[in-house]
């Protein structure tokens, strides 16, 4: 009697990883899922910080996929270790600050360590040749296998027939004939396979599952590094880049302005860490000041804060400024006209 084999599937929450895991499950292999949290993940709940988005279904897609498959899911915090991938990518960045190839190598490497620790036999990913311009090309898939150390234990069930047989195929743990040969950017084969398995309502994130592929987000991260004079970040930094309107009036400070109630509530959680201000004479947003702002800077920030309050057309708006040491003072300012805020102040 053959030994029951066990595989771990990298589950992003998207369709490809769902299908890849299902294809292997169908061959009688015990599959469990692993999902990595980098801090840059595009999360339904991060969007849900904004009140207007609360009508969207709040679900973690990786957990949803695990439920569809009936498998265990292990969510792993890699925030700290991942910093080196973002800051020093050996293979460089994609169109924005997305280090896709290094990211995939890193995640498969972590999965390899996981299977060694847990006694699993091989790793599955939902990669498809030609699906993504940087990490999923015919010439980069072997790089991932090699540099992660997974080598022949990394199986891509959706495009396996276009690749050399891996150890699970050669040893007969899985039947290569029942794997697939998908290739290219078309999603039609995946959608047909999803229909065949009876999957509906799966996530189809247009920009992938990572904020680093987003042009505006990457611009804000690059600005953060430039302003600090070094390429480093903490989790709070990258969370705040997802929220609010970011305006940098001067090199030494920027403003993070809540755009609606949900964001204001989220920003309130940072009041003790940052100098912050808000209008007291009129309703208006909570504004965090990131950087080293002097009295003249705070006066300018107050004028901009007044511009985004409901007192924008008033002659004068009262702004209260709070510093992290608990002190506060009031400023009476004339709101800055919208047209007076240069476009390049907006990040």
């Amino acid at each position: 009697m053959s030994v029951p084999r066990k595989a771990v599937a990298l589950i992003s929450g998207g369709l490809d990883s769902l299908l890849a895991a299902k294809v292997i499950q169908e061959q009688g292999i015990h599959v469990e899922g692993i999902n990595f949290y980098t801090g840059f993940c595009v999360e339904g709940h991060t969007h849900a910080i904004r009140k207007k988005d609360t009508a969207r279904p709040k679900r973690n897609n990786a957990l949803w996929v695990a439920e569809q498959l009936g498998i265990k899911l292990h969510i792993i915090d890699i925030i700290e270790e991942y910093k080196d991938v973002v800051i020093n990518p050996k293979h460089g960045y994609g169109a924005n600050l997305n280090p896709c190839l290094d990211c995939k190598v890193f995640m498969v490497q972590k999965a390899r360590q996981w299977i060694e620790a847990k006694g699993f036999d091989f790793i599955i990913t939902g990669e498809v040749i030609g699906q993504r311009p940087m990490s999923q090309r015919k010439d980069t898939l072997p790089v991932i296998s090699r540099e992660s150390g997974a080598d022949e234990l990394l199986l891509r069930p959706l495009c396996a027939k276009n690749l050399e047989p891996t150890r699970p195929e050669r040893e007969g743990w899985v039947d290569r004939e029942r794997l697939h040969g998908f290739e290219g950017r078309t999603r039609k084969p995946q959608m047909a396979l999803a229909a065949a398995f009876g999957f509906e309502d799966y996530a189809q994130p247009a920009g992938g599952c990572c904020f680093l592929t987003d042009k505006q987000y990457s611009h804000k991260l690059a600005d953060l590094w430039k302003a600090r004079g070094e390429r480093r970040y903490e989790l709070d930094d990258i969370m705040l880049l997802k929220v609010g309107r970011h305006i940098r009036p001067r090199p030494n400070f920027k403003m993070i302005i809540g755009r609606e109630e949900g964001e204001n509530r989220f920003l309130q959680g940072y009041r003790k860490q940052y100098t912050h201000m808000l209008a007291t004479s009129h309703p208006g947003p909570l504004v965090l000041i990131d950087g080293d702002a002097g009295p003249d800077d705070l006066d300018l920030a107050a004028q901009i804060t007044a511009r985004f309050s409901q007192g924008r057309n008033a002659d004068s708006v009262a702004i209260e400024v709070h510093t992290p040491d608990g002190a506060s003072h009031s400023l009476q300012v004339q709101p800055m006209p919208g047209a007076a805020i240069p476009r390049d102040w907006y990040l």
């Binding site: 709940h45 973690n60 009936g70 915090d77």
Partner: protein
């Protein structure tokens, strides 16, 4: 019954789930864990994580912004 607690307030999902997972790994089958959170997403995610990993949600309470989820650790 044990009185294990986890404070996951101010964490955004999936961090409350990750911290719950880490805490559960230190507990024995049958132990209970009370998780305090503030991200409304945790109301969906922690029970979903429990379902796929074989743990039982005993109750979920919401008072203002604070959410309290009590669960019982399942067998491996």
């Amino acid at each position: 019954m044990s009185g294990n607690e986890l404070d996951a307030r101010r964490m955004l999902c999936p961090m409350p789930v990750i911290r719950t997972q880490e805490k559960v790994e230190q507990l024995q089958a049958g132990d209970t864990l009370t998780v305090f959170c503030s991200d409304p997403g945790a109301i969906h995610d922690i029970p979903a994580w429990c379902r796929v990993n074989g743990h039982e949600v005993l109750d979920i309470r919401r008072q203002g912004e604070e959410i309290t989820i009590r669960l019982r650790v399942g067998e491996e």
